[in-house]
């Protein structure tokens, strides 16, 4: 390299070589142009086909799970199944106590978590300025979202059941589920608040309203539908979880419906687990297991579907 720059003749040679080389290369490109694009197109079609299949596999998995559950379980769903307590040591009868238990507990959880979640989201999205504090709070929320459900169960057992002496009860279960669904609520509320255009806030502040008046009168009403969607997602998350209530609220069997927040209860997800693994007649109670699973799926996916459709409608209106 250094030689060629020092010696003019060598440098000349090099440029000559290059100019000689360019012509055939140019020609080559021109000639290969069509087959090359075709080849690339074929590759692209194949790879895109694989991507498309990957996306399809998700839908297929959902469809397979729901198909098998429905085809095996729908016959178990009868009026008696939905309105009677289990009989004959849980081999016959219905699942009314489980439905009541799950509804009570997830509603309880949302009553506790919803105000806290919405207020946290308001602080994060409306008041907080970028800085160390907000970084720490966000890190806390992200980590709370990542805590395994069984660890929430251990926490609920150690803190609510034992330390606060609530015993195995609806209240302890609802508090544990509340802690778990908090990040879900915060996340979707923040999304709802973010989707309110800044011009709304500026207009309100511009005519002399305080920050709180702006939030209360302008931002919250505009974001309300989105915030409600977050609540629905929170309830559905709480209703479907098993591990957090295993040690804190749910029991194998109780013939009574709950009458106070300190009662222990049966719950749909735990009932499926118990019947499928710990019952004495696992094969004989298969229809009951499928039936319970169908009720749980209908409850959880129904709420989610409602939330998703509603949110899609909202997004269309906003855009």
């Amino acid at each position: 390299m250094s030689k060629s720059t020092l010696d003019p003749s060598l440098a000349d040679d090099a440029t000559k070589d290059e100019s000689k080389a360019t012509k055939p290369v140019d020609y080559k490109i021109e000639k290969l142009d069509f087959p090359d694009t075709n080849y690339k197109k074929v590759i692209q079609t194949i790879v895109f086909g694989i991507f498309r299949c990957a996306a399809g596999v998700n839908g297929l998995a959902l469809a397979i799970i729901i198909y098998f559950m429905a085809s095996n379980g729908l016959s178990a769903i009868t009026w008696t199944f939905l309105t009677q307590p289990p009989t004959d040591s849980m081999t016959k009868g219905g699942i009314l106590p489980c439905i009541v238990g799950t509804v009570c507990m997830s509603l309880g959880a949302i009553l506790i978590a919803y105000p806290i979640g919405v207020a946290s989201a308001i602080y994060l999205n409306e008041y907080a300025r970028p800085g160390k504090m907000i970084r720490i709070i966000r890190l806390g929320i992200n980590n709370l979202a990542g805590v395994p459900s069984v660890v929430f169960g251990l926490f609920g057992l150690a803190f609510f059941v034992v330390w606060m002496k609530m015993g195995v009860s609806i209240l302890a279960g609802a508090l544990t589920l509340a802690a778990m669904s908090l990040p879900v609520i915060i996340g979707s509320t923040e999304e709802a608040l973010r989707s309110v255009p800044d011009t709304y806030r500026e207009a309100s502040l511009g005519i002399g309203a305080t920050k709180w008046q702006t939030i209360y009168r302008v931002v919250l009403p505009a974001a309300l539908p989105g915030i409600l969607t977050g609540g629905i997602l929170g309830v559905s998350r709480a209703a479907g979880e098993t591990a957090p209530i295993m040690f804190t609220a749910a029991v194998f069997y109780t013939p009574y419906l709950p009458s106070s927040p300190f009662d222990e209860i049966m719950a749909l997800p735990y009932h499926i687990y118990v019947l499928a693994t710990a019952g004495t007649e696992i094969e004989a109670t298969r229809p009951l297991q499928y039936g319970t699973a169908i009720v749980l799926i209908a409850l959880v996916l129904g709420m989610n579907l409602a939330a998703i459709l509603y949110r899609a409608k909202l997004r269309k209106q906003l855009s």
Binding site: F48, A119, S120, G240, A243
Partner: protein, 297 residues
């Protein structure tokens, strides 16, 4: 009147700030109570024997509290499930963000969200009742309840996490990068592989880590499907007993505040530390390598 509303404003801000601290408080309480109930196990076994002990026989006399096989069980299921969920999740994300028509996206996206919403106990039940007999017949293995089946179910549970975060990352790649690449004559596929994926890689890594964190902490699936044998797996079709399965299965029978009870809480600490680390790393990556403009590529 004016001062009144300003006082309210100040008061509300403080209130909201205090409430926003709730998440951190809960996280703090979780660690305090886990350590309070779990640390007493160190009076019975050393930390080394607890983590690296090869035998988990908590109910025999004298009991053995070595969670090494449980940790390996967790790691094995997580990695095998990642081998399923990462390609599927990222490809679905690319499809959704880059290729799908608006109509198709509106069908696939809710599907992925619904997959995320399926209760874990239902997926565990499906794996146990339908997938296990199927695998047993099809692959001719001793039991369908094994590492592979559990990983398959876990994989499908972590796809939605990986997919939605990756899609956000791909979606937020500035459009002029895309246009520049296409204008240079690159095909759509070349643009995706050479330009968009490198630009979105921090978001995709975050997605992958969070997906694996979800898989390692998932309880009901591994409790019902993994087979429950507390031994070091030697093949992909061996039954395993991951950490969460052990906690969930044994807590009901562990005597209150006994050694076994403390050992299970200590197992919870290990699990908590695992997911906590995963989350911190994910947070670090997403903040450190955030794609700010198009100049940082």
């Amino acid at each position: 009147m004016k001062t009144n509303s300003q006082t309210t404003d100040k008061a509300m801000q403080t209130t909201f700030f205090l409430i926003a601290l709730a998440s951190i408080m809960i996280l703090f309480m979780i660690s305090v109570f886990l350590f309070m109930e779990g640390l007493p196990i160190l009076n019975h076994v050393s930390l080394r024997d607890f983590i690296f002990g090869e035998y988990w026989y908590p109910t025999s006399d004298p009991p053995d509290f070595g969670i090494y096989p449980l940790i390996l069980g967790s790691i094995a299921t997580t990695f095998v499930s990642a081998a399923i969920s990462i390609p599927l999740g990222v490809m679905t994300a690319i499809y959704l963000a880059e290729m799908a028509s608006v109509r198709f996206r509106e069908i696939v996206k809710p599907m992925v969200e619904l997959l995320a919403a399926l209760p874990s106990v239902v997926i565990g039940f499906f794996g146990m009742v339908i997938m296990a007999p199927f695998l047993q017949n099809w692959l001719d293995v001793a039991s369908g309840l094994n590492l592979f089946n559990a990983s398959l179910m876990l994989g499908f549970m972590s796809i939605p996490t990986i997919c939605s975060i990756s899609e956000d990352a791909i979606h937020s790649v500035p459009n002029n990068l895309r246009e520049a690449s296409l204008a240079l004559g690159a095909t759509h596929l070349e643009t995706i592989i050479r330009v968009i994926l490198p630009a979105a890689i921090s978001g995709i890594s975050t997605a992958v880590i969070l997906g694996m964190s979800r898989a390692i902490g998932e309880t009901m699936v591994v409790l019902m499907v993994a087979g429950g044998a507390a031994m070091v797996p030697t093949s992909i079709f061996d039954p395993v007993r991951p950490l969460p399965a052990s906690i969930a299965a044994e807590m009901a029978e562990a005597p209150f505040r006994g050694e076994h009870y403390a050992a299970l809480f200590a197992t919870g600490i290990v699990l908590f530390v695992f997911t906590f680390t995963f989350n911190i790393v994910a947070d670090y990556i997403s903040n450190k390598y955030r794609q700010v403009g198009d100049s940082t590529l």
